[in-house]
């Protein structure tokens, strides 16, 4: 360090405060999250065990059409896995004192949150592809599948559910079990009120669940007909986009407020 004046101190440093640089750094957070959290207890329980158990509970002994079986399973896996990492990271890192380490780096809290969203997105969408491919192979529905509807649907829904999961980690606790309680008490009712493994009734309470719109995307991706009529797909994508955006902005705002209380 041999700078002669204060301008030199900042001059030769990588630019940090631009959108592109912060976005790039958010991918480093993602890489870290994926390396660390994929095998953590709460993630495995909520992301893998719950979908299996719930799938069995929902379908055992029932006569369900193949299409509804696929859309219900993919929706449940995507929702539960995409929301499994987000609530864990902040309390986990607060407890491990690694959040403090991150916050002293030249990144904003939004960058950290974005990194968490990308990791939840990656985790959720990859896991959703597994039942989609398996079920489509078993039921031989490849011919009727429209990937140009299903793949963008998975992407938008994974992003929306990932943003939603960050809200669940807003309380400034350092105990992951605390957020797990909150998470389960919100996620499970959402799963139960959603039209999983059944046709969508567009006049019922299922409209309040964002999962309904993803189920409709998958159903449309196989049958070509939306439960919401000819503009159904537009509605589905619009609602999921709006849902994701609202929760993203809310997460930015609330985490900005509570991060100070973590120390």
């Amino acid at each position: 360090m041999t700078q002669d004046n204060e301008e030199d101190v900042f001059a030769n440093r990588p630019k940090a405060n631009t959108f592109f640089n912060q976005l790039k750094r958010s991918f480093s957070i993602t890489k870290k999250d994926l390396r660390i959290y994929y095998n953590k207890g709460p993630v495995v329980i909520q992301g893998i065990l719950f979908p299996i158990v719930l799938f069995i509970a929902f379908t055992l002994g029932r006569d369900i059409e193949n299409i509804y079986l696929i859309s219900g399973l993919v929706t449940m896996v995507l929702f539960l896995t995409a929301t499994s990492i987000g609530p864990v990271v902040f309390p986990w890192e607060t407890r491990q004192k690694t959040l403090e380490r991150l916050l002293t780096c030249p990144i904003s809290i939004r960058t950290i949150l974005l990194g968490n969203i990308w990791s939840s997105f990656t985790f959720g969408s990859l896991f959703a592809l597994v039942p989609l491919i398996l079920a489509s192979s078993i039921f031989r529905t490849w011919g009727s599948m429209k990937p140009w509807i299903i793949i963008p649907g998975i992407i938008i829904a994974a992003l929306a559910f990932s943003s939603f999961s960050l809200i669940l980690s807003v309380p400034p606790t350092d105990t992951p079990a605390n957020t797990m309680m909150l998470t389960i008490s919100i996620k499970f009712p959402l799963v139960f009120i959603s039209p999983l493994f059944m046709p969508i009734d567009p006049t019922s309470y299922v409209l309040i669940s964002p999962l309904t719109y993803f189920v409709d995307i998958i159903n449309t991706g196989f049958t070509g007909t939306s439960a919401f009529g000819s503009y159904g797909l537009l509605l589905d994508f619009g609602v999921l986009l709006a849902f994701g955006l609202v929760f993203l902005l809310l997460a930015f705002f609330l985490h900005g407020k509570t991060v100070q209380k973590r120390f």
């Binding site: 101190v9 990588p14 491990q96 690694t98 403090e100 916050l103 002293t104 030249p106 400034p172």
Partner: protein, 334 residues
Amino acid sequence: MNAIEVKNLSKHFTLSKKRGVGQKKSNQSLANKNPSISGLVKAVDEISFDVKRGEIFGLLGPNGAGKTTTIRMLTGILKPTNGKITIFNKDLDKNRILIQQIMGHVPEMANVYLDLTGMQNLELIGELYGVSRKERKNRAELLLKKFELLNWKDSKAKKYSKGMRQRLLLCMGLMSDPVILFLDEPTSGLDVQSSIIIKELIKEYHASGMTIILTTHDMDIANELCNRIAIMNKGKIIGLDEPHNLRKLKQEYQALDVYIKGEIKIQEIEELTNIKKVQKKRGYYHIIVDNLKLAIGEVIEYAKANNLQLEKLNTYEPKLEEVFIKMINGETTL
């Protein structure tokens, strides 16, 4: 030139009676030590100081004094309740990310990512500072070698000992090639070997011109490493000076233990210019002095003049620790 200027910096926490979600034990202990009106804890209370470029500046104080909160504000983690922090003439509040780009930080707790390897930890920090891929690898290997961790670079950090994790933390703090390095209790709880390695490396980086701010409650470290020391207690700075000047504050602790054959007349000795008080102990005299050097001469002269055989003479100089304790007890101020 000042690297850091701090003016009237305060941080207040509001505490509820019942410890709730997010309520920290450390804050609770602060509340116990520093109770004030209706649950408001003044963790840092109107402190002002500056840190010169290239110096090692120590924040010394007991647990709960406000050292870590001060460091957290200086590194941009916590927002101050009041006051202003300027780093190289830039307002930290308005230029946080720009300023963090020239900082390195080693927090108090061992907070490396335990599920990542040593190399992965360093690469993560390098990426977050925007260090290029090639430079990242070079820097990481150089630091791991310097801190004697190269053989462990591909082992997960959870397999590291506490000393190794602390050294890895230091590597992470240095990964950005910082102009200012913040060290929060860098040798706390470490074995002697790790402490020595860390102290030597702090000296080395300081010699290269790095500005270092360290908190410690270890007087020897502060004494050995720091150019200037601020002593903190209950959120306030109660003394700020160079270590040798702080030691001088406790002049009355300068003393001689004199082992002499025969009796000395206490009243006669106390009349000598540099002698303040004489206490007869079992087998020797404890003489509190004003000026150690001159007092030794006077005692030797007195012994010669009175045909007394001086057997042994021990000098007693104040330690920084004693100044520190005296200051936090409010017995001495600057």
